[in-house]
């Protein structure tokens, strides 16, 4: 493929990138002991991206034939030139840091080594296990998904690369009912790599039991009263805070549009206990789901310290925003399918661990809430006001976790919440690997951190 793309690369004075992406995805889904989906999907093609004096042209084709690719190249160039008529004046030329070579994500015990039978059996056992936890579990389901990507990129600015990527996730859902009330619980995880990276310290049994337990615990519980609360966030919600509430505001495209992070470089935006990082390859964690070895502009990805000890240090960049801000690209340009344009996305985003023990952090909290897991969706606004649903919530009374609550939604202004952080624990977990971030197109990301304590607004029905 690399020779084929090189032979078609046009000789132009402006940047052109050709990318092939061959994707095979497989889904196995059991719903109440019925195999609802066992499928194999192929979605492959070539995209052409051209930058011409401040305007991008993009075209793609699923026909991997010379004539069709040449047609796409012409279409992308003509589009960019057409757009230039509408955008006269100065521009910042994209600043690339091209990668070369052959990249393969670390994969222990490849996904392909495990048969269709084994994967179907896995989801069947997981759904059955969830249902067996209690008679009140009226329904259960389980899904295994794998995405196998083979990319080849060549550009006239130095990119020449092949990249093999493997991402998989596993999830279980359980519905509980006591006749009057109904609740949903779920548990999931994901990874980049092989079977070992996905299941290294996790089993289908524990995941199924966890989903069932969450649904059962919430049955018949009350929502809290609305108001401002001291909360201890589990790493799963710290990840959501890092990604959803802060991370999106520091994506340079949002910054240029006027997000709340604009003009904040070098300024104090959080407690000095807070260090926030977006890392393409965290070396302390095997198989983080948002692992990126080369971005979709062909750039080398870099670890970015977004906030260091409460001070904002950097935004997340693609080649164009890097030029506008006069910095090096951070390798955050990502595209989900071959037919998607690369845009600025996060990878593995986390708040770095602190020094308190988790036990000390909880026992020193007189009254408040202990919140765990993303329930429903999470959203953040241009002004950094965020909202997300919480999957599990308990009261904290006199330093002890007590009775459960349900349907808690938290909100706040992200930087105000960061400033309210008064304790950060020394544990760590990535916990968002099963899901997708949505920004015009999906992206596999991960996020996490340690337990931490802060203040947020809780929405209530009283």
């Amino acid at each position: 493929m690399i020779e084929f793309l090189k032979s078609l690369l046009p000789e132009t004075s402006f940047p052109v990138l050709l990318k092939y992406q061959g994707r095979t995805s497989r889904v196995y889904y059991i719903d109440n002991d019925v195999l609802k989906e066992a499928s194999t999907k192929e979605y492959s093609g070539i995209s052409v991206r051209v930058w011409y004096e401040g305007v991008w042209g993009f075209a793609s084709t699923s026909n991997i034939r010379e004539d069709d690719v040449k047609k796409a190249i012409n279409s992308a160039i003509e589009s960019a030139r057409e757009g230039k008529k509408d955008k006269p004046g100065t521009y910042s030329k994209p600043r690339f840091s091209p990668n070369r070579g052959s990249l393969v994500v670390p994969e222990t015990d490849p996904l392909e080594n495990h048969s269709v039978d084994e994967k179907i059996s896995l989801v069947r056992k997981a759904a059955k296990k969830a249902k067996s936890v209690s008679e009140k579990i009226v329904s259960s389901s389980s899904t295994y998904t794998e995405i196998i990507d083979e990319k080849t990129m060549v550009s006239n600015y130095g990119t020449e690369i092949t990249y093999s990527d493997r991402k998989a996730d596993f999830r279980v859902a359980a519905f509980a009912s006591d006749g009057n009330d109904m609740e949903l619980g779920y548990a999931s995880f994901g990874a980049t790599g092989g079977w070992h990276e996905l299941f290294k310290d996790r089993s289908y049994e524990r995941t199924a039991e966890e989903a069932a337990k969450i649904a059962l615990t919430k049955l018949g519980r009350e929502s809290p009263e609305g108001g401002i609360y001291t909360v201890v966030l589990h790493p799963s919600l710290v990840g959501v805070l890092a990604h959803e509430a802060i991370g999106h505001t520091v994506e340079a495209d949002f910054v240029l549009s006027g997000s709340a992070a604009k003009g904040q470089l070098g300024k104090k935006v959080g407690s000095e206990l807070v260090t926030l990082v977006d890392d393409p390859t965290p070396d302390f964690w095997d198989g983080a789901t948002g692992m990126v070895l080369v971005d979709d502009e062909g750039n080398k990805p870099k670890k970015v310290e977004v906030i260091k000890d409460g001070i904002m240090k950097s935004y997340l960049h693609d080649a164009e925003s890097a030029a506008i801000f006069d910095v090096e690209p951070t390798g955050n340009a990502r595209a989900f399918n071959y037919s998607d344009e690369p845009i600025i996305r996060m990878r593995n985003t986390y708040i770095a661990p602190g020094e308190s023990s988790v036990d000390d952090l909880i026992s020193s909290t007189k009254n408040g809430l202990y919140l765990k897991g993303l329930g429903g969706g999470g959203q953040a606004d241009a002004n950094a006001e965020f909202m997300f649903g919480v999957l599990e919530a308990n009261k904290i009374k006199n330093g002890k976790i007590t009775e459960p609550l349900r349907e808690v939604t938290i909100s706040g202004q992200a930087f105000d919440v960061l400033k309210s952080v008064d304790a950060v624990a020394n544990d760590f977990l990535f916990a968002m690997g099963a899901g997708y971030c949505g920004k015009h197109q999906p992206a596999k990301v991960d996020a996490g951190g340690p337990h931490l304590r802060c203040k947020v607004r809780i929405g209530g029905r009283k």
Partner: protein, 443 residues
């Protein structure tokens, strides 16, 4: 497509007496994308793909590809057959027999098909400039004008064969207003049309609505916490009513008893002012379709009539299990197994928006809802975006930092008024709806 279908049928039928369905979609797209307040990308692409369902003795296999060469086509035929052989027997796995369809007018525009980049660029430029020039405080995170031509074709071994075409121009603005340190909430407006009639007017009107909305959201502050009325914008009606109904009425959720409405057919689930229909057979409507993802003919269906639950929505699977006929609500792309979704919700109104607003002594207008509506336990909780505090029938001030809490089921029952005016949403042209007894957490 005819040849591909024959190749797949012949190849699989050599292996045994399988029922086979081939669904194909061809999509051509031209898109102009603005980002960071300026033109960013011009994008053209074309995708063709097929999905193959294979059923034998109630056992289902599925495979799909967008690479339409002999090798890929033979591969997915073999994989779908193999997966079917490994599947479990389920009486719900059935295909649609040969059917006849209601012809719909105005879903395909030759004029739109002939559009090229320069024409589309002209529309996009005007759309973008109308929003930007409205006020210098407008900041556009993104704007998008996209022309799509879609051709769907379905055939199966029961003799069904059908084809449909649609053209669509969609336009979307996403951004905020910035006045010094005052940044409004994000807002978006979008529209979609199957033809080019009055298209510039439609785009400019959408751009002006967006601009006016974000400018009016500046200077926001919280209101006190209270329990009272909420006036939902059509987008919020789509989010809270539309999305919840998509799950509550979904035949598969009814079958699995996951829908709290599963045993409520012909019972009151809402206020008598509330009637909701799904109508996919409207000429010139972008929401219309003559058949669903399984080739089943669509039809107008009353979902809730004066507050009484009248119908659930089904594909072949849920209909077969529940002993009824598919309502033509199978949905999905070529790469997906059919799921169940609503097409085009209609909610008739009774009053003008002006009358409704005047009747509010104390309440909140919510333009966008950032939160969750859980259709399983019914709980709605989230943040009011681009909202206004309303006092004595007048807009008092824009809102920020206010959370809203209620239950979906209570909202259906506490409907006070529905407007005659409607706006386009992702699930139909919907009205404004006034609902009582909603809790707000503010100052």
């Amino acid at each position: 497509m005819k040849e591909i279908k024959k190749t797949i049928f012949d190849r699989i039928r050599k292996k045994g007496n399988y029922d086979i369905e081939v669904f194909s979609r061809s999509k051509k797209r031209v898109r102009i994308f603005f980002e960071k307040n300026e033109l960013k990308t011009l994008h053209e692409d074309e995708v063709e793909g097929i999905g193959v369902r294979v059923i034998k003795d109630g056992k289902l296999g599925f495979s799909s590809t967008n690479v339409l060469n002999d090798e890929s086509i033979e591969k997915i035929a073999d994989e779908a057959t193999l997966i079917s052989d490994m599947g479990t027997k389920d009486i719900g796995n059935v295909l649609t027999p040969a059917s006849s369809y209601t012809e719909l007018k105005g879903l395909y525009s030759e004029e739109m098909v002939s559009y090229r980049l320069p024409e589309l660029m002209k529309l996009a430029r005007s759309f973008f400039r109308t929003a930007k020039d409205y006020d210098k405080r407008i900041s556009l995170d993104s704007a998008n004008v996209e022309l799509t031509v879609i051709e769907d074709e379905i055939g199966n071994t029961l003799g069904l064969s059908a084809k449909k075409e649609k053209t669509m121009l969609t336009y979307l603005l996403f951004g905020m207003a910035i006045d010094g340190d005052d940044i409004s909430s994000f807002d978006y407006r979008f529209g979609v049309s199957t033809n080019l009639k009055n298209i510039e007017e439609k785009l400019n009107s959408t751009a002006t609505q967006f601009a006016s909305s974000v400018i009016n959201a500046l200077g926001a502050h919280p209101c006190k916490s209270f329990n009272g009325m909420v006036l939902l914008s059509p987008q919020v009606v789509a989010d809270l009513f539309g999305q919840s109904l998509s799950i509550l009425l979904n035949g598969e959720h009814v079958l699995r008893k996951r829908s709290p409405f599963h045993n409520k057919l012909n019972e009151a689930v809402g206020n008598e002012k509330l009637t909701i229909m799904d109508n996919p057979l409207v000429d010139n409507s972008p929401y219309s379709t003559m058949f669903d993802r399984e080739g089943t003919p669509t039809r107008k269906l009353t979902l809730i009539e004066n507050g009484i639950l009248r119908n659930f929505i089904h594909n072949n699977y849920s209909a077969k299990h529940l002993g009824c006929k598919s309502t033509g609500h199978a949905s999905g792309d070529f790469s997906e197994l059919p799921t169940i979704e609503l097409h085009n919700i209609e909610i008739p109104g009774q009053k003008s928006l002006k009358e409704i607003t005047k009747s509010i002594n104390q309440g909140v207008f919510i333009n966008r809802f950032s939160g969750n509506a859980n259709p399983i336990n019914g709980i709605v909780s989230g943040t009011v975006k681009g909202g206004w505090f309303i006092e004595n029938g007048q807009r008092a001030h824009p809102l920020t930092g206010v959370m809203m809490g209620t239950k979906v089921f209570d909202m259906f029952k506490n409907v006070v008024a529905i407007s005659n005016e409607t706006e386009q949403t992702f699930i139909g042209e919907l009205p404004y709806i006034l609902v009582d007894n909603v809790s707000f957490t503010g100052e």
